[in-house]
Symmetry: C2
Subunit: 499 residues, 2 copies
C-alpha cells in the first residue's frame, strides 16, 4: 500500500536522479568539456537545477511531509523524515526573487573578482560585494525565521548549511581556545625549525606522477571499479552511488603536492563510498555535513598519508614511479611536510596557521551577517586580525588579504569554519581509533589501511545522517568536538616530531 | 509579444536542454563511467528520458502547434513548424503501453542475444524475437496511421525514423540496381587482386596511435576547442553545440583500423559542427537524417582519408608517430584499403560487399514488418540471400548469419538502409564537389581539407532540416540519389585503381 512515507521516498528518489544528472554534468564541465561547450552546458545545468528546485518546493511534498510526520514513529524513519523536512524547508523558505537576486549578484561579484583580485582593486570589488552582503543578510534572516531549529543569530542559519548542527556559540568557544593555544605553539615550532631547508627541487613528469597517484589512491582503498581519478586545476571530489570521482593536480617541481591532494580527495570519496546504500536516494543516506566530510579528507591526508610510518611504507613506490636517477628520503619528505611558516594565503598555509586564517574569516563573516560590521570595514578588520593572530600586515595588499578567497564573492558565508572543525574532528576521530588500536603505527607502516577504513565505515560513514553532527562525534569518539585532540596531535607531530 | 511560434521555440529549447543532458550522461556511461556506476546512471537516464517524453507529448504543445500552423507563412518558420510537428507526432502516435512493452521486450531480447549469439542459439533467440517483431509491426502500423505523410507500407513508417524522406519504393529501385551491378564487379575485382597479400604485421603502441589519430582528426578539421576524442569499444560520435565528441578504438596489430574510424567519426562530427547555430535548440537545426549523416562520415573516411593523394600527404605523420624502425609505404596502405573479399560479417565487409549485406537485411526486415514473412523463416531467408548475393552459405551458422547484428534485437527496423544510402550519397556529393573543383586531387594531396569542408558546410551542413532528404541531394548535387556515382567511384577505385 502506498503510504505518505513511501510516496516521499518515490519523490526523493526522483530528485536524486536529477541530482545525479547535475553532479556528472558539472564534473564533465570541470574535467572533460572543451571550452566551446560551456554555453550549452550552462543552459542545460540551469534547466535541470530549476526542475530540481521546482520538484523540491512542490506543495504536494509539503503535504506528504505533514501527513508522514504525524504518522510515523519508527526511529530511522523519523530521522529520514527530519532530513527530508530540512531539505524541503531550506528550499521553500527563501523567496524566489531573493534566490534569483542573490544568484545574479553572486555571479557578477565572483566574475569581476577574478580580475579585480589581480588588479588589487578593493573599491571595485566593494561595489559588488555590498549587494552580496545585503542579500546574504536577507537570506540569513529568512532562514532563521523559517527554521524549526532555534538559531541564536542569523549567521547560525547560514552556518547550518555547511556545519549543520554546530552552533556559532560552540564554534566560538572552540576557536577562542585555538586563538590562545596556536600562536605560542607556532612560535615554538618556527624556532625549532629555524635553519632547516626544503629539498626536492627537480622536475617530475606528469605521466609518472599520475601513475604514482593512482598507486597511492589504491593503497588508501580507492576502488577503481567504482570511481575515477582525473586532473583539474583545483582538486575536488564528487560523484554518486558506485561512482566516486576525484581529481588531483600535478606540479612539475613538487610531486608531494599532488599526493597530498590525492590522499585528501580519497578521504572524501571514502566517506561517500561508505554511506548507507539502503538510503542511497534519500537525504538520510547522504554525508552528515561539511565539517564531518572535511574530517575524513584531512584524516586521510594528515593522519594517514603524511604519517611517518605510512610515508616510509610508501617511499619505495616513489622510487618505482618517479625519476629513478634520484633518491627519495622518506624522513626528508616528512620533514618538508611539517614545515611551519606564517604567510598571507590560506590555501598555502601549514596545518598550524590554517585555523588562524579560518578564525579571521569566521569572525568577520559572522559580524558581517549579524550586522555588527559593514562591508567597507573589511580591509581594516582583516589587517588588524592578521597582525594579531599571524603577525603579518595586509594593509593596502587586498590581493593577498581580504580578496584572496572565492567563498564570499558569491555569498557562501558560513563555509569557512567547516575546514577547521574538520581538522579538529579528524584529529579527534583518529585519536579514538588509536585508543582501540594500539598497533596503529604498525597498521600505517604495513599499509593496512583496510582496518582504519572498516572502523571509520562503522563509526562514521555508514551512519549517513542518522545522528546530528555532535551526536555522531559523541558516538564515534566518546565526546563532542574538543580542540585538545587537535592540539595534542600538533604537539606530537610538530614539536615532538614523533608521528 | 509572445506568439505561438515563440512559445514553441521556448518549449523546444527546454527539450533541447534535457536532450543535451541525456547525450552527455550517455557519452559518460560509454566512455568514462566505472562499472559500478551503471545502476544509478541507468536510473537517472530513465528519469530524464521520461521527463523528456512527457514534455514532448504535452497537449499544450499540440495546441501551440495547431495555432502556429494556422498563423505562420514565413518559409524557414514553416520548415521549422513542419519539423516540430514531426517530433511531436512521432512521440504522441504510439500508445504509452506499446512504447513500454517494446522497450521491455527489446531490452530482454538484446540482453539475451549477447549470450545466445555466442552459443549459436537460434531457437532461444527466436522466442524473444517473435515478440519484438510483433510489437514492431504494431509500432509501424501506428506510425503509418498517424502520420501526415502517405506511407505506402507500414515498413516505410519505420524507415522514416532513419532515412527520413526516402521511401521504400525508391530504395528498392536503387538496391535492385546495386544487386545487378555489384556481384559481377566483385568477381572482377577479386580476380584482379588474386595473389596480393596484406602486410603491416606488427605491434603499434596505443599511446602512439592515439597521438597519430589526434593529428589525423586535426588535419581533417576537427576542432579540439569544440570537441574531444576518446576511446570506446565501438567507435561512435555524439555531442551537442560547441562540444562534439568522437571515439576511436585501437588494435595493437593494425594501426589503419583506428585511423579509418577516426576519419569516419570526424565526418559525423563535422556535420554536427556545421549545423545552423541560429536554430541550435530546434528540430530544424538538427541533422537531416541518418542517410545524410552516414554520407558525411563515409565521405571523410573513403573519399578523403583513404584517397591516394591524402594518404601520401599523411604518411610522414605515420612515420613521425609510430615505431620509427619500420617503414610505411603509402601505396601499400592504400592497396590494403581496397582489398575485396566476400565474408560473413557486415561490420568487417569491404566497400563493395557491404551494400549486399545491407540489401539482405533490408529485404528481410521490410518483409518482416509488412507481414509477408515470419520471424521463424529468418535463417532460411538469410542463407538463401547470402548464397545469391555473396556466394556464401550460413546454413546452421546463426552466429555469423542472422544473429550477427544488434539492430533487430531491440526492434530498430529501418536503420540498415541508411548505411548504403549514405555510401551512395557520399559518393554522389563528392562527385559534385569534384565537378566544381578540378584541382581536387591537389587539395587532397596538400591536405587542404578546409576547401572541401567549406563546400560541404554550405551545401549540406548549414541546411539543417530546411530541405527534405532528396531535395537536399538535388540542391547539393543536381539530382536525387543516383547509384551510378557510387558504382563509378567503385570502378575508379577498385578496378582502375586510380584514386
Amino acid at each position: 500500500m502506498s503510504t505518505p512515507y513511501s510516496q516521499l521516498v518515490d519523490h526523493f528518489t526522483r530528485l536524486s536522479h536529477l541530482a545525479h544528472s547535475l553532479t556528472f554534468l558539472q564534473w564533465d564541465q570541470l574535467v572533460m568539456m572543451p571550452p566551446q561547450g560551456n554555453d550549452s552546458r550552462s543552459e542545460a545545468i540551469a534547466e535541470l537545477s530549476s526542475l530540481y528546485h521546482e520538484q523540491l518546493i512542490s506543495p504536494e511534498l509539503g503535504e506528504l511531509l505533514a501527513k508522514a510526520e504525524a504518522d510515523e514513529v519508527d526511529t530511522p524513519r523519523q530521522a529520514s523524515l527530519r532530513e527530508m523536512d530540512r531539505e524541503y524547508r531550506w528550499a521553500t523558505c527563501i523567496p524566489a526573487d531573493l534566490v534569483k537576486a542573490k544568484s545574479l549578484a553572486g555571479s557578477k561579484c565572483e566574475h569581476e573578482w577574478r580580475s579585480q583580485r589581480q588588479k588589487n582593486d578593493w573599491p571595485g570589488f566593494l561595489t559588488n560585494f555590498k549587494e552580496v552582503v545585503n542579500l546574504s543578510r536577507q537570506e540569513a534572516q529568512a532562514r532563521q525565521n523559517c527554521s524549526n531549529e532555534k538559531f541564536s543569530t542569523p549567521y547560525d542559519a547560514l552556518l547550518d548549511l555547511y556545519c549543520t548542527g554546530d552552533s556559532s556559540s560552540m564554534i566560538s568557544e572552540i576557536f577562542t581556545s585555538l586563538k590562545t593555544t596556536l600562536p605560542p605553539l607556532i612560535s615554538e615550532v618556527v624556532e625549532k625549525q629555524s635553519g632547516r631547508t626544503r629539498e626536492f627541487k627537480g622536475t617530475f613528469q606528469k605521466e609518472s606522477q599520475q601513475r604514482l597517484n593512482r598507486v597511492l589512491a589504491g593503497l588508501l582503498g580507492f576502488d577503481f571499479e567504482a570511481g575515477r581519478i582525473d586532473e583539474s586545476s583545483h582538486p575536488f571530489s564528487t560523484g554518486g552511488h558506485g561512482d566516486h570521482r576525484i581529481t588531483s593536480r600535478y606540479r612539475d617541481n613538487d610531486f608531494v603536492d599532488a599526493l597530498k591532494a590525492t590522499a585528501h580527495e580519497t578521504g572524501h570519496a571514502a566517506y561517500e563510498g561508505g554511506l548507507p546504500t539502503k538510503w542511497k536516494n534519500l537525504p538520510l543516506g547522504q554525508a552528515r555535513n561539511m565539517s564531518i566530510h572535511e574530517s575524513q579528507s584531512l584524516l586521510f591526508e594528515k593522519q594517514i598519508f603524511l604519517s611517518k610510518p605510512f610515508l616510509k611504507f610508501f617511499t619505495p613506490e616513489i622510487h618505482r614511479h618517479l625519476d629513478k636517477s634520484r633518491s627519495y628520503n622518506c624522513e626528508q619528505i616528512w620533514l618538508n611536510s611539517i614545515k611551519v611558516s606564517p604567510s598571507y594565503i590560506r590555501v598555502e598555509a601549514d596545518e598550524l596557521c590554517y585555523p588562524l586564517h579560518v578564525i579571521i574569516r569566521y569572525e568577520i563573516e559572522s559580524a558581517l551577517i549579524n550586522g555588527t560590521m559593514e562591508a567597507d570595514e573589511l580591509p581594516e578588520m582583516w589587517d588588524e586580525k592578521m597582525q594579531t593572530y599571524l603577525g603579518l600586515s595586509t594593509a593596502g595588499n587586498f590581493k593577498d588579504g581580504c580578496l584572496q578567497d572565492i567563498h564570499w564573492t558569491d555569498g557562501s558565508f558560513g563555509y569557512f569554519p567547516a575546514y577547521t572543525m574538520g581538522a579538529l574532528n579528524g584529529a579527534q576521530i583518529f585519536s579514538a581509533f588509536r585508543r582501540t588500536h594500539k598497533n596503529w603505527q604498525d597498521l600505517l607502516g604495513n599499509g593496512e589501511i583496510a582496518t582504519i577504513r572498516n572502523w571509520l565505515a562503522e563509526k562514521i560513514w555508514s551512519q549517513g545522517r542518522l545522528l546530528a553532527s555532535q551526536e555522531l562525534m559523541q558516538s564515534a569518539t566518546g565526546e563532542p568536538t574538543n580542540p585538545n585532540y587537535f592540539i595534542d596531535y600538533l604537539r606530537e607531530r610538530y614539536l615532538e616530531e614523533k608521528y
